[in-house]
């Protein structure tokens, strides 16, 4: 790979323009910065979405809106006792009055702790599987004990958020593809410009017996070096941006954003981006040169 990227002095003289003389390394650098950020966002949001889905998929909350305290306590005891018998239930916990008051505090102030204010009781249930049969079984069981009780699936509440995160993930990957296409277009334009600039040199080399592959190799190597320069610079800046954003997200302490990490696969994918960018540029350059030369004799 290294020797392939190291042209001989004679080959360097054949296409004399300096490596970073043109705008291509800059354009590719900016593309790589945006691609890396988009890919990182896509992977992080994807991981957060998966984490959120795992968290909410097997969670239920049972609301028992009974005004009479003793009746409510009786119903809760019965529900807790019965519901533990269901196979798919792996955890049942009543939300304490203190936790409930804390939850209501932002809306009702400290009146949430007032015993005269009728508050529904909440029971959190964790299931090993959240299929429709299990949900129906639990709903029947709960309404059999407390007819006014309501069974709420967390997935129902949070599915719009999960959908949004999934959409953001695909949007990010779409942006990566667009960026790759734009990079390819940039390379094609740069190669065509270089072919025009060096048209006479190429024509003479052809007449002296150069094959298309020999000529393509010269351009491919030059474009690859330009692309590598741009990719490394853009990737470096992107890593710095990611480090800053990561630190800020960590400081928020949010459970939802906390799931937005890259993971091992994510980091490996991100690290492959500059390599892929360079390889893509070299491949596009080669194909463009071969295609253009193929139209000549």
């Amino acid at each position: 790979m290294i020797s392939w990227l190291k042209p001989s002095v004679a080959e360097r003289r054949l296409l004399p323009e300096g490596r970073s003389a043109g705008p291509m390394p800059w354009v590719i650098g900016i593309m790589m910065l945006l691609t890396t950020l988009a890919a990182a966002m896509g992977l992080a949001v994807g991981n957060a979405s998966a984490s959120l889905s795992n968290d909410i998929a097997g969670k239920l909350t049972i609301q028992v809106p009974e005004a009479n305290q003793s009746t409510k306590n009786g119903q809760i005891r019965a529900i807790l006792s019965e519901i533990r018998q269901v196979n798919a239930v792996v955890g049942v916990e009543r939300v304490s009055d203190a936790q409930l008051a804390q939850l209501l505090d932002p809306w009702l102030g400290n009146v949430g702790a007032d015993e005269d204010l009728p508050m529904p009781a909440l029971i959190d249930v964790t299931l090993s599987r959240a299929d429709a049969t299990t949900i129906l079984e639990i709903t029947n069981l709960v309404t059999g004990i407390a007819p006014k009780a309501r069974v709420d699936r967390h997935a129902t509440w949070l599915s719009p958020l999960a959908s949004l995160m999934t959409a953001l993930k695909w949007l990010a990957f779409g942006l990566v593809l667009l960026m790759a296409s734009a990079t390819a277009a940039t390379v094609i334009l740069a190669v065509r410009a270089a072919l025009n600039t060096h048209g006479e040199t190429i024509a003479i080399m052809h007449l002296l017996g150069s094959s298309d592959n020999q000529i393509a190799r010269l351009f491919q190597r030059r474009i690859a070096l330009d692309a590598m320069l741009g990719c490394v610079a853009g990737f470096g800046v992107a890593l710095a941006v990611m480090a800053v954003v990561g630190t800020r997200i960590g400081a928020l302490g949010s459970d939802l954003l906390g799931g937005a990490s890259l993971g091992l696969f994510g980091w490996l994918s991100i690290l492959l981006l500059p390599v892929a960018g360079t390889a893509l540029a070299a491949m596009i350059a080669r194909l463009t040169v071969l295609r253009t030369l193929g139209k000549t004799l």
């Binding site: 004679a10 007449l207 002296l208 017996g209 094959s211 193929g294 004799l297």
Partner: protein, 274 residues
């Protein structure tokens, strides 16, 4: 001159090895086996060439060139000499007719096989076509580098060639700083350095003084003696008389006249007018 001929003989071996295929070298007047008819290196049969939708530049051109022959192509300006040479050095395909070089049909030859034939043809262009950003040395070295010779070998061959064409002191000079005659010598050196089987030259002595013209003619003669077939387009009538065994080809209005019959296939042996 003898040193140069010796150098060419050495180059012959190296350049053939670099072309990636070996062929029997013509020694003692034996014939190379290219699957072609013995002794014929170029064959044109009813060749016509038309640029775009214009009139034919070349019409019904038929001739054959013997391997190791020395040919002068003459004719008035606009007769089609350069077009004929373009067909010879594979820069153009004909609009019609058949062209065989080295026993292969060049009209239907796939594009990707053209380079291996071009490497066997040296060309001196009328306008030199030197690469402006390369030094004399690098311009001359180009055919050897295209063939993949080692830099050590390239340096040895090019240095010797530069000395022979009298440009040893101008090795690092770029074409723009060379006089017309010097550029022409660089162009000739580039054309012959790989010791081609055919050398095609378009007015190769047009910009040099008589002394250099004589030296270049000696070079061409030396190459011819080594087996290179030469086709030289020229207006210089003196050149025609300097090479005793040369055959003249004359183009007029895109048609080739062949009064001696020597260009026919097979050529007339006696050269008597038909």
């Amino acid at each position: 001159m003898q040193a140069f001929v010796r150098a060419l003989m050495e180059l012959k071996t190296v350049s053939r090895a670099c072309r990636g295929h070996a062929w029997p070298v013509r020694e003692n007047n034996s014939v190379r086996d290219f699957g072609r008819v013995m002794g014929t290196i170029v064959q044109f049969d009813n060749v016509g060439l038309r640029y775009g939708t214009g009139a034919e530049t070349l019409t019904d051109v038929s001739f054959s060139l013997k391997e190791g022959g020395f040919y002068f192509l003459t004719g008035p300006s606009g007769a089609g000499k350069t077009s004929l040479l373009k067909l010879l050095y594979l820069s153009q395909r004909p609009s019609r007719g058949l062209i065989r070089l080295f026993g292969e049909d060049m009209v239907t030859l796939p594009r990707d096989r053209l380079p291996q034939f071009r490497r066997r043809i040296g060309v001196v262009f009328q306008d030199f076509r030197l690469i402006p950003h390369l030094s004399s040395f690098d311009n001359i070295a180009l055919p050897l580098r295209v063939m993949g010779q080692s830099e050590k070998e390239v340096e040895r061959s090019v240095t010797e060639m530069l000395g022979w064409v009298g440009l040893a002191e101008r090795a690092s000079a770029r074409p723009a700083t060379l006089s017309g005659g010097e550029q022409q010598r660089v162009a000739i050196a580039r054309a012959v350095i790989a010791r081609p089987d055919i050398l095609v030259a378009d007015e190769p002595t047009g910009n040099v003084d008589p002394d250099m013209a004589a030296r270049l003619l000696h070079l061409f003669d030396g190459l011819n003696k080594l087996g290179t077939t030469l086709v030289i387009a020229t207006h210089d009538l003196h050149l025609l008389t300097r090479i005793g065994n040369a055959t003249m080809m004359r183009l007029e209005d895109g048609r080739l006249s062949d009064p001696t019959g020597l260009l026919r296939y097979p050529p007339r042996r006696d050269g008597v007018l038909a």
